[in-house]
């Protein structure tokens, strides 16, 4: 089995990517962040196969062009906020319709209930998409993607639609799903706090990967992140600066602990 599910090698695309390469490790939770116009959304559309690129991308070791479009869409579920077809079915019917045919009806209903509860759409199951508010539509988009049980889930930036607490809650739920189901998740986010929940983090600037690796270590590189125009999470920003003044040894994410370390 391949270690990487998606590999891009030497991608050239418009003025955005020039000899761009990335390898997404299988079953990991990946975050991709960067300043405005750094190429995050374009990267998602390329991974999703919406932008046809030849000879540079492989999915589980095979070139994209060797797959049928329907094969790619059954392997990769992409969530672009609010890009959803306004079908006439209720949410529950649509979820049932999209599920694996081999599962029994009771199994399907149980799974729908679990995911609906997780994403707070239980009360909405009898509604149609037209009757949902924007946030509800996005929760439903995520639930629908999960219910299809794909190998890879790709999510574009949800930050325009949710507040910080909601974004962190969604990230936590996706992390849990990734751990329980071994689904690879690639999440684009402009809120760097979300990166801390991932296994591996990429920072893009002007179409190039300027940082990658363990999220906590990536976020400690304040000079590069500032240069890329990104806002550091408060605790990271404070800790890194305290470290520069030799007031603490390690970056602390817990406020209580940091206060205890500073004033023993």
């Amino acid at each position: 089995m391949n270690k990487n599910c998606i590999e891009i090698l030497g991608l050239n695309y418009l003025n955005i990517f020039n000899n761009f390469s990335i390898a997404i490790e299988n079953e990991k939770f990946i975050t991709v962040s960067g300043s405005n116009n750094c190429g995050k959304t374009t990267l998602i559309r390329i991974i999703d196969g919406q932008v046809p690129i030849n000879n540079t991308i492989t999915l589980y070791g095979r070139p994209y062009e060797s797959y049928k479009v329907t094969d790619i869409s059954s392997i990769i579920q992409t969530i672009i906020p609010l890009e959803i077809t306004a079908f006439q079915n209720t949410l529950e019917d649509e979820m049932l319709y999209q599920m694996n045919e081999t599962a029994s009806k009771s199994e399907k209903n149980k799974l729908i209930k679990t995911i609906a509860k997780q994403f707070k759409i239980t009360k909405l199951l009898t509604k149609t998409v037209d009757n949902l508010k924007n946030k509800e539509k996005i929760y439903f988009q995520i639930a629908l993607a999960l219910i299809k049980n794909p190998k890879i889930i790709v999510i574009d930036d949800l930050s325009p639609y949710f507040n910080k607490q909601e974004l962190i809650m969604i990230t936590e739920m996706l992390k849990e799903y990734n751990q329980n189901n071994k689904t690879t998740i690639i999440m684009v986010t402009s809120l760097l706090d979300c990166n801390l929940y991932s296994d591996y983090s990429y920072i893009l600037d002007q179409g190039k990967i300027v940082l990658e690796g363990n999220p906590k270590e990536v976020l400690e590189r304040d000079n590069i992140l500032n240069k890329a125009g990104l806002n550091l999470p408060f605790m990271i920003d404070l800790s890194v600066k305290l470290k520069d003044y030799d007031l603490i040894k390690n970056v602390e994410l817990d406020m209580d602990r940091l206060v205890d370390i500073l004033w023993k």
Binding site: N36, K164, N231, L238, Y245
Partner: protein, 260 residues
């Protein structure tokens, strides 16, 4: 322009609010979008509304409405930016002697080049769209600008651009800016006055720097606390440290250094 809402009825509650010129206000809370039609003078509520000592009535509200703009994302049937701006002038029956000059002046205020007029809306970046929406609403020369989540999804550089624009509108053009946001860090950093709304009721209003220090009270009422305030509050409470409340991380570091 000063707007006073005296004993106005909002969601079966009585509200009194004052918005003064040259100030940045913040409003936070749940379902505050329902307050927008009232503060933007689009809805007349029971009670008294006074604009610069003139009482607002059904007869004169139209002339005052133009002075308050709710800056939203650009919605237009046009795609070319010049056409979008011209359409705004026509739709709002704005009487402008030299519309092209006015359009260029509006762009200049927000820091956009004239050549953006030749572009189509889908060719612009997120920050350009935000700046452009300011330029469009400035065409009607409003005294009060209401903006929802102005910094959302902007990187540091673009956040700086917008805040510089807001400061300029406040100081140089004496505008009243009202920011509606859920982000306590942004509100604490950039506003002068705060309005906290809970259950359709104005819970508390006052100076931002004073209100956000009421940490326990705000927490009890389920409002987010700016992280820099929360950290300072925790250090003071837990360790009785004499550090001050700051808005910038660099300032708190200096204070911590002194008190260790």
């Amino acid at each position: 322009m000063e707007i006073k809402f005296i004993n106005c009825e909002y969601k079966e509650k009585i509200v009194s609010l004052t918005f003064e010129p040259s100030k940045i206000y913040g409003i936070t809370g749940k379902n505050i979008e329902e307050l927008i039609p009232i503060i933007s003078l689009r809805e007349i509520c029971k009670g008294q509304i006074i604009v610069d000592e003139n009482k607002i009535t059904k007869d004169n509200i139209k002339e005052h409405q133009r002075k308050v703009s709710f800056v939203t994302a650009i919605k237009s049937a046009q795609i070319n930016i010049y056409n979008i701006m011209v359409e705004y002038i026509k739709r709002n029956n704005l009487i402008i002697k030299d519309p092209i000059k006015k359009i260029k002046d509006s762009l200049k205020i927000v820091g956009l080049e004239d050549n953006i007029l030749n572009k189509n809306i889908y060719e612009t970046s997120t920050s350009e769209k935000k700046l452009l929406s300011f330029a469009i609403y400035l065409l009607s020369n409003p005294e009060v600008l209401i903006i929802e989540e102005p910094f959302k999804c902007l990187d540091k550089q673009n956040e700086k651009k917008i805040i510089m624009l807001l400061q300029r509108l406040k100081e140089q053009f004496k505008k009243t800016i009202i920011i509606i946001s859920e982000d306590s860090n942004i509100l604490y950093k950039y506003t002068n006055e705060m309005i906290f709304v809970k259950n359709n009721e104005i819970l508390i209003t006052g100076k931002t720097e004073e209100l956000y220090l009421k940490v326990e009270y705000l927490k009890k009422n389920r409002f987010d606390i700016p992280e820099i305030v929360e950290f300072t509050h925790l250090a003071k409470k837990k360790k009785e440290v004499k550090i001050d409340y700051h808005k910038d991380v660099r300032d708190i570091i200096k204070d911590i250094y002194k008190h260790i």
